[in-house]
Amino acid sequence: MSLGPYATFILTSYLLVMAVVLILIGWITIDYHRQRRHLRELEAGGAVRRSGRSATDMK
């Protein structure tokens, strides 16, 4: 596979898309773990939901 004289433009496009998608995945994953940690800390501090169920309950 030869990309010809415009290889820089093609490779930059694909690398940029890959980088942005990886940043999105990383940001969403980190955010998920951060929210769950906040919820665990709040519940450990005695805060309880009105329903009485755990805030990290996903079932």
């Binding site: 940029l16 898309v17 942005v20």
Partner: protein, 246 residues
């Protein structure tokens, strides 16, 4: 589980948690197939190898508009039906839509420099997509600026619906005005004008990116529901502390 059951955030969390690994796996497999097909696609007789940029530019451009469409439906859900997940869906979609729009603009520029001789031209298609990107950023800023979530939801929903006017302008800009951007070649009357050698990788990548959006959106919605639970528990904690001190 019926559709109305999904109005319950806990049920939604259960479903999202079950679906996410499968969606992520399907996205990864389809992206791998799409990337392989893109790499193996022949050079275009006019564009040469730069046609490969189309396989990522076009799906991002489609999704930049599709995500705003999803947010517009969610905005109706917020304003008309007051669906508890509507604002969650819109707020979670905005950064993902902004990222797709950014990628559509930049990959378009990187294709434009060798093909048009310029990175940017203030023509109707490029300018209207830039406006879409700025509207995404404005919406994200609005959600961050207004502290009360219900007020932020209503304001963002109105802004989203006003911004939806831009979608037909983007779509038909190449027909209404004399633009540097080429007219539609896939979704047009009379069928696609693309050869199968380019159409198949393009459609595979479009489905792969759509699945990517669905996966990221469900995960971001799950985060947003948890963030709202954090806020609710913080308020309960403050109320308990003030009761004890009274």
């Amino acid at each position: 589980m019926t559709l109305i059951d999904l109005a319950n955030p806990t049920r939604f969390l259960t479903l999202a948690t079950r679906l996410l690994p499968w969606l992520a796996a399907a996205t990864a497999i389809l992206l791998a197939i799409g990337l392989y097909q893109s790499a193996m696609a022949p050079d275009d007789y006019q564009q040469g190898a730069t046609v490969k940029i189309m396989f990522i530019h076009v799906p991002n451009a489609w999704l930049s508009m599709f995500v705003w469409g999803v947010m517009s439906l969610a905005a109706l859900g917020t304003l008309v039906w007051r669906h508890p997940l509507a604002d969650v869906a819109a707020k979670a979609a905005a950064p993902i839509g902004a990222a797709f729009t950014f990628l559509a603009l930049v990959t378009g520029s990187l294709w434009g420099r060798p093909m048009w001789g310029t990175y940017w031209e203030w023509d109707a298609r490029l300018t209207s997509v830039l406006i879409l990107f700025l509207m995404y950023l404005g919406l994200i800023a609005l959600w961050r600026a207004v502290e009360d979530p219900s007020r932020a939801a209503r304001a963002a929903a109105i802004l989203t619906l006003v911004g939806a006017i831009n979608l037909p302008i983007i779509k038909f800009s190449v027909d209404w005005w004399n633009t540097l951007h080429q007219p539609a070649s896939v979704m047009r009357m009379g069928g696609s004008s693309l050869d199968r050698a380019f159409l198949i990788p393009l459609l595979v990548m479009a489905v792969a990116f759509s699945l990517l959006f669905l996966t990221l959106h469900l995960a971001a919605m799950r985060n947003e529901i948890l963030r709202r639970r954090v806020r609710a528990l913080q308020l309960i904690q403050v109320a308990q502390a003030s009761q004890r001190s009274a």
